[in-house]
């Protein structure tokens, strides 16, 4: 019996050691309720999801100035906003990077970029880098499509905008649009999660 106890102890220790190695980032999974926030927009005003009138949901995009992948998707993010804002799903862009670590992602540079590209959506700074870890964003661009429901803003899709960062013309799967179209039709999103290369977030 002692032997069994010893073995059990050993196993527990092993399991605990394995548990300790668990450093995975917590974050939302599809179906979770996403937090709202109050972050400073490039126009100097604070923006919260709840303040956006007439929304059925939101396309929350963690993006930034400096990342070539984010740059490659800028026009496509603008196109998403243009198409889906009228249908009740506006884009809300958040820069998760710490400007101290990435000068090109400073608030002033964000303002410049928004003006240059004529962003028609909020471009917010995650000041203190507190919101992106709650969402579980790891890179830019990283998209979360939320649906407004009675219990809160439910995450319906996490991942990439489409399957070709380099060439918008060669895209085969428009993941974000497919998810939004399904939601607008009251259907289930078929591809709920996708992965893409991106720039790691500099917190």
């Amino acid at each position: 019996m002692k032997k069994i106890q010893f073995l059990a102890m050993f196993l527990v220790m092993g399991a605990l050691a394995a548990f300790k190695a668990d450093t995975s980032v917590a974050g939302y999974k599809v179906g979770d309720v996403a937090t709202d926030f109050s972050l400073k927009n490039v126009d100097g005003k604070m923006v919260s999801l709840k303040d956006i009138k007439g929304a059925k949901g939101y396309i929350v995009v963690f993006t930034c100035n400096h990342c070539p992948y984010a740059q490659a998707y800028e026009d496509r993010i603008m196109a998403l906003d243009k198409k889906y804002k009228a249908l009740g799903y506006p884009v809300v862009a958040i820069n998760p990077n710490n400007p101290e670590k990435q000068k090109e992602d400073s608030f002033a540079k964000m303002q410049e970029r928004a003006k240059e590209k004529k962003f028609a959506f909020p471009y917010l700074l995650d000041e203190g880098q507190k919101i992106f870890p709650q969402y579980g964003a790891t890179k830019t661009p990283h998209v979360y499509i939320l649906q407004k429901t009675a219990k809160g803003n439910v995450v319906k899709y996490i991942g990439a905008i489409d399957d070709n960062y380099e060439d918008a013309a060669a895209v085969k799967q428009k993941y974000a649009e497919n998810a939004l179209d399904a939601l607008l039709k009251g259907k289930d999103v078929t591809v709920k999660e996708t992965k893409a290369i991106g720039c790691s977030i500099k917190a």
Partner: protein, 198 residues
């Protein structure tokens, strides 16, 4: 009897722990490649690298480009060498910052059968103006290959199921074990990780 119950409880507890614990660092045994053309195990002939989609070169530097099926060869070599495969790009600031550490490992551990492979994710328009001059200027000695495969959702999970897609990212493997890291490395950290690969 009570002890037996306790033991049973402990075992159940362990099982729960094991299942609830998602490890970021995956040390899964290498999975059989799904899309790679069969590499014939042969004791005499060493499998040759696949034919690149394209080779980018200037006067001094030459880099082969592969889609994921081609790249997989570099992620699944079975011999007595330990491979350190780093995913990077010239535009990725933390990647470029840690690159000298990988270079140093490649040089210092050559005789210990450790080989660094740098997988560049530079975009098409950056290869000639940025990547090739960078390799020349920094005198990169590690092997550099390009991954040119836009369908990232298909190949990212094949590199490692826990990879979110952020770079820098690194796979260290040999014929015995394999580990994936979505993080940056200092030289000492890298050296420490490699010491686990015997």
């Amino acid at each position: 009897m009570i002890l037996k119950r306790i033991s049973l409880f402990v075992v159940l507890f362990i099982i729960t722990l094991l299942f609830s614990c998602k490890k970021e660092v995956s040390n899964d045994a290498p999975k059989e490649p799904e899309t790679v053309p069969e590499i014939v195990e042969d004791t005499i002939a060493v499998p040759k690298p696949p034919k690149p989609l394209k080779v980018y070169s200037n006067d001094t530097v030459s880099v082969p480009a592969y889609d994921y099926a081609g790249l997989e060869y570099y992620l699944r070599q079975k011999n007595d060498t330990t491979y350190v495969v780093n995913f990077w790009a010239t535009w990725c600031v933390p990647c470029v910052a840690e690159l000298p550490n990988f270079e140093k490992i490649n040089t210092n551990y050559k005789k210990n059968k450790i080989k660094v492979i740098l997988v560049s994710l530079d975009m098409a328009k950056m290869i000639e103006p940025k990547l090739l001059p960078f390799i020349k200027e920094k005198q990169i000695k590690s092997q550099v290959v390009l991954l040119r495969d836009p369908d990232a959702d298909a190949w990212i999970p094949k590199v490692d199921s826990t990879w979110s897609g952020a770079i820098p990212a690194t796979v260290i493997y040999n014929s015995e074990m394999r580990k994936f890291y979505e993080r940056s490395f200092t030289y000492d950290e890298l050296e420490k990780e490699i010491s686990n690969f015997k």
